[in-house]
């Protein structure tokens, strides 16, 4: 039998913020719970029935009391709301310089890809002290990426990308759980987050033997799927050039524009006719079933890399 623990590890920048919020709510909860319990206990003893013929004086109520015990709790709850919402807002907005990791959930494993090309299953190595941004999708049902030590949880929904981020503050191995029920082996869809000292992380990165970075894998895929035959870099192909597309505004046939983000590129690969670029014909076949979610991620990274100015550092 494992040792008894009462409080989880605190291993991300957001974890102490969540815990402070918890302490505040706990204080309020304990205060009111004790207040109610002790009042009941005191009244029950003090005013216990001594004779069956007792008839207490009628007390109908008191407006002042009613107002007091409505307004004070309401004020407290508004503090809870504001505080909680501000923590949530920070949890939802990844910083710009975050390390990008791609996550694909499927029944019943986590597949994780680093920009440098390392691919992991059910284990994620990340450096200490650097914000990490996860872009996640699912191949089948809804999963949820949950790291208790980071106080982070985000559902991973098929058909779209969801994002979360964290910044580890303590080296160590932490649980990764799937928190949204996903079928037979839901409880075995677990893994580890390895937070390493930056130097160790560099060693780990160079220790693996990846077949090139994510973008390079994407380029290979781009060529093997024959995308390159139509999407010519100089724009002379039957399909638009993808150079410099990422992050920019795309004009669509039939009016309207869309920002070329991960979601849009994913949709264009899997459902090419959903949004047609102005001036082009809907000739592209769907790649649904031909390319995995991980492949899509590699293609996205390749297209992103096309958008980089020479010598630039990315976005």
């Amino acid at each position: 039998m494992g040792t008894l623990r009462l409080f989880p590890d605190q291993a991300s920048t957001i974890a102490p913020e969540v815990d402070h919020l918890l302490y505040f709510l706990l204080a309020v909860a304990v205060f009111f719970t004790l207040g109610i319990f002790l009042s009941i206990l005191y009244f029950a003893i003090r005013y216990r029935r001594r004779s069956d013929r007792e008839l207490p004086h009628v007390i109908h109520g008191g407006l002042t009391l009613e107002i007091l015990w409505s307004v004070i709790p309401f004020g407290l709850t508004m503090v809870m709301f504001t505080w909680g919402a501000s923590v949530f807002f920070r949890e939802s907005r990844p910083p710009d310089h975050a390390l990008q990791i791609y996550v694909v959930g499927k029944q019943w494993m986590w597949k994780l890809q680093h920009m440098e090309g390392q691919r992991e299953i059910n284990e994620l190595h990340i450096p200490l002290g650097r914000p990490v941004r996860l872009t996640m999708t699912s191949e089948d049902v809804i999963h949820s990426f949950y790291v208790p030590a980071f106080r982070t949880k985000q559902d991973v929904v098929p058909g779209r990308y969801s994002t979360t981020w964290f910044q580890p503050t303590k080296a160590g191995r932490y649980h990764l759980f799937c928190a949204e029920y996903c079928g037979t082996n839901h409880s075995r869809m677990i893994g580890w987050i390895d937070v390493m000292e930056p130097q160790d992380y560099q060693n780990w990165l160079s220790g693996g033997a990846p077949q090139g970075t994510l973008a390079e894998s994407g380029q290979k895929l781009f060529e093997s799927l024959a995308c390159v035959n139509c999407h010519k870099a100089d724009g002379t192909g039957r399909c638009p050039s993808l150079v410099g597309v990422f992050g920019n505004t795309v004009h669509l046939a039939g009016g309207g524009t869309v920002t070329a983000n991960e979601e849009y590129i994913r949709e264009s690969i899997l459902r090419p006719d959903a949004k047609i670029v102005a001036g082009y014909q809907p000739v592209m076949p769907t790649f649904q079933g031909l390319v995995t979610e991980e492949g899509v991620v590699q293609l996205i990274e390749y297209i992103k890399s096309l958008g980089q100015k020479p010598g630039g550092t990315g976005r």
Binding site: P94, R133, T135, Y161, N261
Partner: protein, 99 residues
């Protein structure tokens, strides 16, 4: 118990207005009013609903309670609609993730 018996003429008039509105909404659908196409189509539908409810379902003679039930039901549908759409409409507001 006093029952209001409306005249056949009233009912016939309402009926004819309903038929005219149906023809009208079908005709106006072919005109490009931009985003107002939806507004006009729904406005006409609401008018038709009110006519049916007030006259054919006798809401204009009915108790306050009946009207409250009717308004309450529609209000609840709008709660369902409005709060769900609050999610659907604002999903893209955060922009490109991480940007």
């Amino acid at each position: 118990m006093s029952e209001h018996v409306d005249s056949v003429k009233t009912y016939a008039l309402v009926w004819i207005i309903l038929l005219i509105l149906t023809a009208g909404t079908t005709a106006v659908a072919h005109v490009d009013l931009g985003p107002f196409s939806v507004v006009v189509a729904l406005a006409i539908a609401v008018c038709k609903m009110l006519l049916v409810a007030l006259f054919f379902m006798h809401v204009r003679h009915s108790t306050r309670l009946t009207r409250l039930v009717l308004v309450g039901g529609l209000l609840w549908f709008f709660i369902l609609l409005a709060l769900t759409m609050a999610d659907i409409v604002t999903r893209g507001w955060l922009g490109v993730p991480g940007k």
